[in-house]
């Protein structure tokens, strides 16, 4: 890639502390991702793979301790590259043993203050975010329209209330809400889940951010509404060219909207590359986990070929006890005798196996 990416996450680690188990939950463990301007990156993985926590870390919205402990989150704003985790090291002391993090000391208050002052110029303005469960994500005590107008007044050049209202109505219309002028006055409880998500999208886009993070935007909606929201996102993508980080466990949504895909498992990225290479059913080189994930999609083709729906054996890795070797080793069905020892003992790194296509698996390394 010739131009610098819009968002560049490097070696991000976000941990939580489990009091009951006296151990760290390594929700995000060494994640690196890049999103170029104008592209949609689909982040896919099972529940608990660290997708949402990655997104919340980017937004600085992690409030439980210790939270983000290391890494870089670079974002390009007005030609200036900014690291959202700049000076993070001043607040965190990490003790390592055998390359594993044993303890973390973090000045949470200091870090929080530092992060808030940094993020106040980024949230909404540079990065906007939409969430799952749109009904509870909108403030029930304020009209939908006012919430959109608030984002406009905060982040755009518009300063007059009336103009902000007109602009909010324009956005309500843009996300295909019927009679936007009437809906402007509605409270969230008067709208359906699908309409609330449309309003959320309108609110996110109304502040004209350079990056949109959509965290499971269709989860919690009816199936028919889901496909309509996906249609809307696809349309907005082609019309506005918004750079998007799309997080979902639903591969059909990811494959519909993404230019590039990152597959996450156990808090780290297993594979990333162009969507057509990774999600194509017949592509030869792909991570065993990605392959297993694809055959577990309840599609007509998968069922026809096997006569039943293939599920991935075993449980999702709990990110408290991360094994020394590959995180997927215990569930992997493609371990060969030649690489077995490496799989068990050493964690593979993310290596490029084709232009722009990286995989974290010993199968593809010489």
């Amino acid at each position: 890639m010739t131009t610098a990416p819009l968002l560049k996450i490097e070696d991000l680690r976000t941990y939580f502390y489990s009091r009951s188990k006296q151990a760290f939950i390594r929700s995000v463990d060494n994640v690196s991702l890049k999103i170029a301007t104008g592209e949609t990156l689909g982040v896919v993985g099972e529940s608990g793979s660290g997708k949402s926590i990655t997104a919340l870390s980017v937004m600085g919205l992690i409030s439980d301790g210790p939270g983000v402990i290391s890494g870089k989150i670079g974002i390009k704003t007005d030609r200036v590259q900014k690291n959202l985790l700049h000076d993070l090291g001043d607040y965190v002391t990490v003790t390592k043993k055998d390359n594993k993090i044993m303890s973390v000391k973090k000045d949470v208050d200091g870090w929080q203050q530092r992060s808030e002052s940094m993020m106040s110029r980024v949230r909404g303005k540079e990065i906007a975010m939409i969430f799952q469960n749109p009904k509870s994500s909108l403030n029930p005590f304020t009209t939908v329209g006012k919430q959109i107008a608030e984002a406009i007044l905060l982040h755009t050049a518009i300063t007059s209330e009336q103009e902000a209202k007109d602009r909010a109505i324009y956005w309500l219309d843009r996300v295909k809400i019927d009679s936007p002028r009437l809906r402007y006055e509605n409270y969230p409880f008067g709208l359906s889940g699908g309409m609330c998500q449309r309003a959320m999208i309108a609110m996110a886009l109304a502040s004209e951010p350079s990056l949109l993070i959509a965290d499971e935007p269709t989860t919690g909606l009816d199936a028919t509404i889901q496909s309509k929201i996906v249609d809307l996102l696809a349309e907005l993508k082609s019309e506005l060219g918004v750079t998007t980080m799309l997080i979902s466990h639903d591969i059909s949504i990811i494959s519909r909207l993404s230019d590039r895909v990152a597959v996450m498992y156990g808090g780290t990225v297993f594979e990333c590359g162009p969507a057509r290479d990774i999600l194509a059913v017949d592509a030869a080189a792909k991570h065993p986990y990605t392959a297993a994930l694809l055959t577990s999609i309840p599609s007509a083709r998968n069922v026809r070929e096997k006569g039943y729906l293939q599920a991935i054996e075993g449980d999702v890795l709990d990110t408290i006890n991360i094994p020394a070797g590959c995180r997927f080793y215990s569930r992997c069905n493609r371990v060969t005798d030649t690489i077995r020892e490496k799989c068990e003992r050493h964690e593979p790194d993310l290596r490029e196996i084709a232009p722009g296509h990286k995989v974290r698996c010993w199968l593809y390394f010489e």
Partner: protein
Amino acid sequence: MKLSAIRPIALVLSREMAITLLLLLGVSFVVFIILYLSPGDPFSALLEGQLSSGESPSGAHEVLGVPPSWYARYLSWLANLLQGNFGTSIRTGMPVLGEVLRVGINTLILTLGSMLVTLLIAVPIALYSVVRGINKISWPLTMFAYVVSALPVFWLGYIVIYFFTHKLGLFPLAFGYATTSTKFGWLYALLPIFVLGVGNGTISEVIRSLRDEMGRVMAEDYIRTARAKGASVWKHSFKEGLLIPVTEIVAAKIPFILGGAVIVEQVFNWPGMGRMAWQAAQDRDYPVIMGIAILAAVFVRLGSLFQSVVYVAVNPRASKE
């Protein structure tokens, strides 16, 4: 405010008014029965030692036109009340309504002021501990507030008087009269207001309920949305996290604060309802006691009326009921 917003408020108001009327009727009846059943009567209290032992007070009743049966007495009191006549004090001969309103204002100043003191202490502590969690500042502050609000108000009152009036000579003993006499006389009123505000026992409850409510609201999805769009978290959490719980707890605590006011008025010579009620109870001054009971009930109802109006005005869902 638009007409559509006023309609639900008017509805709530009229419903609350109807409940208030029934409640006042109930209160007056119960208080009347208690007074009737309790020993002693105003004449033997007033004429103590002047009646010969065998003489019954029924003669005096007859002369003064007091109906013989209890229900007739209640009904005649009620009939007078409906005409706006609260009767006259047996002790002073003054009309009850004027007297009770005069002292009622003083009590209102005392209770509203003390509520303000309570909130000024409790709200910052609660909000601070929501934001920062339990730390080196919030924990001792909360503990201190809990201990302080467990102090009995009469004890606190006497300690404060001993210190400020006796030792430092800063405040006079007769607070009530000080409020009217000089230009800065109102300053003297601050001491009893402060004592009741600290000692009425509600600080700890305000802290606890506000911390729980605000903490719950802060974890709501819509607050996360507000943060994600760079908006003020306080602006978005204000209605559900602060306004509604504060009005709720203030309304619920009015009876307790009024109870505390009775004691503080005694301790500080504050010419309020509590003091008058105390005096009237000793004199068996029935019309005054009834008047004060009614006024106290009105205060309590006004509190919950205020709470309902705020709740309906703030919460769009409530107005759809």
